[in-house]
Structure formats: structure tokens, C-alpha cells
């Protein structure tokens, strides 16, 4: 297998790892975005909380998420190592004038990535850690099934615990449903009531936007996919969808929750 280690430790091989892990992270972004659209619903977090239970209990998704954590670490370590090797190749004496004909994002992927990494750590501490290991209260929702309307909600006492994350029951007539679920949404609302946290999230999303504006296209180039028929399309998707649309929707989430709370 020495050919494989040789390949992966070559400059092109290290970039191959960046491109494959990076594109995997891009697909994750879409899933994460679509799922989190639930925060825009006005159902006091019922859909969001149920979705959270699904994402953290489904065995297939749990396996993928551990893969995802590994990919983030691999991408970050390989990226920072590349940045180090590349910096060293330039040497200690720089140019007095350096009027580089390239995009700012393409030259600062490692700085953008480091901001992203810090963001991911804080983001996981905010939600992933408190959901799995912290104290998240339960909430009870009663839903009228005939009209699909939320009848009432009740925050359970702080020390209320279930053996599972969610329990559902129907009334005798089968016209109403009671759901008791871990209320991560209350954490989301509390976290985004702090304007400094909202600003930090906007910074993270801005770093993502620039990382994607160069990274999405770059990954295709790295794996050797460059063709006059498709490259303009790939660059367009990288800029408009991954660099602008996705970050704007992500940014809207903390901003929306902040103003909804403040109203």
C-alpha cells in the first residue's frame, strides 16, 4: 500500500483529501440548512424539537454524524498542515510589493477555515453539548389532530426527566395528541437573545460565504474536473448558491429568532 500513502502525502494527494472532505461538508451544509428551516415555523418549536429527536436517534444519521465530525477534523488538520507547508515554501523574505492577481478568499482559505472551526466549536457547545450532556428541559405540546392545530404547550419542571427524548400519546377519541419532548428550541431562543452571540454567528456565516465562494469550485478543479461546458456552471453554483444563498438563509436564522424574541 506504499503507493497509497505516497499518493496521499503528495501535494496533489493532500489536496485530494481537502476536496473530498470539503465536498462532503458541502452536502452536509444543505442537509443542515433544510432541517433548520424549522426554526422559522410559528409552532413554539414543536417541529424543530421533533426533527432534533429524529436527527439524534436515527442510527443511520447517527453514523453519518460521527463520520461528519471525523471529516471536519481531517479537513481542518490537513488544511492547516497545507497552509504551513505552503507558507514555508515561500521562505522568510517576502515581497516589498505584492499585487497579487487572485481573489482574497482564495488566498485566505486557512484563516477563513480557522474562523469556521472556532465557529463550529462554539456552535456545538451551544447546542450539541447541552442537548446531549447538559440540562435541557422538556416541554409538552397538545395538538388537535383534526385541524392540525397546536392547542396548548407547557414547560415541564426543571427536574422533569424521561428515559427517552420524546414521548407521544393519543387521547381516547384519537382527536388530539400529546407530545413531551426535549426542548432544544428554548435553548435556541435563549442563545440568540444575546446580540453578541448573534454577531458571532454572523461572523461565522460570513467566513463560510467566502470559504465557499472559492472552495466549491476549487474542489472540482482539485479532483481534475475542469471543462468549458461545466466549469462556469460549477463556479456559478459555488458563488451564488454556496457563497450567497445558503449563507444568507443561515444568517437569517439567528437574526429572525433575535427579533422575534425582542418583539
Amino acid at each position: 500500500m506504499s503507493w497509497l500513502t505516497q499518493t496521499l502525502s503528495s501535494s496533489i494527494g493532500k489536496k485530494l483529501v481537502m476536496a473530498l472532505t470539503g465536498l462532503f461538508l458541502c452536502t452536509f451544509l444543505i442537509v443542515h440548512l433544510v432541517g433548520n428551516l424549522q426554526v422559522f415555523k410559528s409552532d413554539e418549536g414543536l417541529a424543530f424539537n421533533s426533527y432534533t429527536v429524529f436527527m439524534t436517534t436515527n442510527p443511520f444519521i447517527k453514523t453519518i454524524s460521527w463520520g461528519l465530525y471525523a471529516m471536519i477534523l481531517l479537513h481542518a488538520i490537513d488544511g492547516l498542515y497545507l497552509a504551513y507547508v505552503n507558507r514555508r515554501a515561500r521562505g522568510s523574505v517576502g515581497y516589498k510589493r505584492f499585487d497579487n492577481q487572485s481573489s482574497w478568499a482564495s488566498r485566505n482559505m486557512a484563516i477563513l477555515g480557522t474562523v469556521l472551526f472556532l465557529f463550529i466549536v462554539v456552535h456545538m457547545a451551544n447546542f450539541w453539548y447541552s442537548y446531549n450532556f447538559g440540562e435541557v428541559p422538556y416541554k409538552r405540546y397538545t395538538v388537535d389532530l383534526t385541524e392540525g392545530r397546536l392547542l396548548n404547550t407547557e414547560v415541564m419542571p426543571e427536574d422533569y426527566r424521561l428515559s427517552t427524548k420524546m414521548e407521544q400519546s393519543l387521547n381516547e377519541e384519537g382527536t388530539a395528541k400529546t407530545v413531551i419532548v426535549k426542548d432544544l428550541f428554548s435553548r435556541v431562543e435563549r442563545t440568540f437573545s444575546n446580540p453578541l452571540v448573534v454577531l458571532f454567528y454572523l461572523l461565522g456565516v460570513a467566513a463560510l460565504a467566502y470559504h465557499m465562494a472559492h472552495g466549491f469550485w476549487s474542489a472540482f478543479q482539485t479532483v481534475g474536473l475542469n471543462h468549458p461546458k461545466y466549469t462556469p456552471l460549477i463556479q456559478g453554483i459555488g458563488l451564488w448558491i454556496f457563497g450567497i444563498l445558503i449563507p444568507v438563509i443561515f444568517a437569517a436564522m439567528p437574526v429572525y429568532i433575535f427579533f422575534r424574541n425582542a418583539m
Binding site: 499518493t7 507547508v85 505552503n86 515554501a89 516589498k96 482564495s106
Partner: protein, 256 residues
Amino acid sequence: MDANANMHLTLNVWRQRNNSTEGGFVTYEVSDVSPDMSFLEMLDVLNERLVHEGKEPIAFDHDCREGICGSCSMYINGRPHGPLKGVATCQLHMRSFKSGDTIAIEPWRAVAFPVIKDLVTDRTAFDRIIASGGFVSVNTGNARDANSIPVRKENADDAFMAASCIGCGACVAACKNSSAMLFVSAKISQLALLPQGQTERKIRAEKMVAQMDSEGFGACSNTGACSAECPKEISLDTIARTNREYLGAKMTSSAV
């Protein structure tokens, strides 16, 4: 102002005695520069003056002075080969500057291109990369009858474009990573596109990339600064091709 009037310039030139001493910038005022002089002729005039004054002339590489040898390497005002697109320093004329301008002139900066003296860098790393596989081993003889070896027109055009690389190293100099990918990709592309290059296609990609890495050039971040500064405007497609050639060769060659 008369466009043909002689110009006055301030030059900030990197001077360095040799590789083991530290260098620094020295400022020179030059007058009576004709806008029709080439950049190298302007330096020649300054050097003549320095020699008359009993000073050490500025060392810089040059040979053909017609844009084909690739030796006239210098970083001019923050850009390799100066401000024009698709032009080597020897083809740059003083009319591209204004009288009164200050011009910074520096050597290529890359660990793999150590400074020999002043603006002259040692670019034999490129020669070693070529020697590692940038050739066809057998003598392919005289030019054949046209059409006796069919070559697609597109391949012939792309190979010719790639073959126009003059090995100047501006790509390395412009790259924030000092990556040699554009140069190596031009050479790999040129041979991968033509029938004569097929026999050694895989081993060539493997060896040239390995040599490039061992010379201490950085990896490619796809910033595109290389292609934007290349005097022959070698395109980034060649880099994608090299990624394909190298990864494909590594996965399928018989070298285990």
C-alpha cells in the same frame, strides 16, 4: 506632456551580494529614460552608469530578449514581469510607466529558487523536474509525413499552447504558496496530449510531481495568480489535467 519626452524614475532595487549574505533595497534615480526602451535596456543604462561610477552593476538574468527563453525573471511593482498581461520583462517597455514613478524591482521569492545575486535566482529546480520525466525517451526521428500519425486538432492546439511555456518561473513567483503546478502542468499536458508522449504517460506524471514536491515548492490552492501572470498565459485547465493525470496514474500504474 510629450509622450516621447524622456522619463525620470526612482528605482527600489533588491541588492544582495550572494546567497549567504543578507540583501536589502537600494534606491536609484534614473533620468533620460526613453519610453521606447525595454525594461532591460533601462537597467542596462543604469548598469553602465554604475560601472562608470566604479560600483557593482545590478545582476539580472536575460538572454533572448524576445520573450522566448524565460530567463528575464524579476518582480516589478508587485507583479512578476511587471504590469502587462502575457508579456515577459524583456518585452515590457518603459511606455508602460509614467515619468516620476517609483518602481520596486525584486527577485523571485521561493525557497526552491534561492537568490544567487541581486535579481538572479537559481531555477535549476525546474531543470531537475524536467529531467525526472519531462521528455520522450526514444528518438522520435524526423518530422513524419503529415497525417501519418493522426492527432486531433484540439489536442494539437492544446499541446502547442502548453508547449509555449518558457520555464520562466513567474507562476512560482506569483503564487502565495510558491507552487510550481502551472509549470509542471504545462509540461505534463504537452506530452500527455500527443501520441509520442503516451508510452511514458503515467510514470512521467508520477515522477514529475514527486520531483516537484521534493524541491520544496508548495501545493496548489487554485488561486489562479500563476495563470494571470504567466507571460504565455498557460491556462488553469492544464492544472486540472495534471491532477487527473497524477491521480489516475497513481491509482492504475504498475508501480506499487
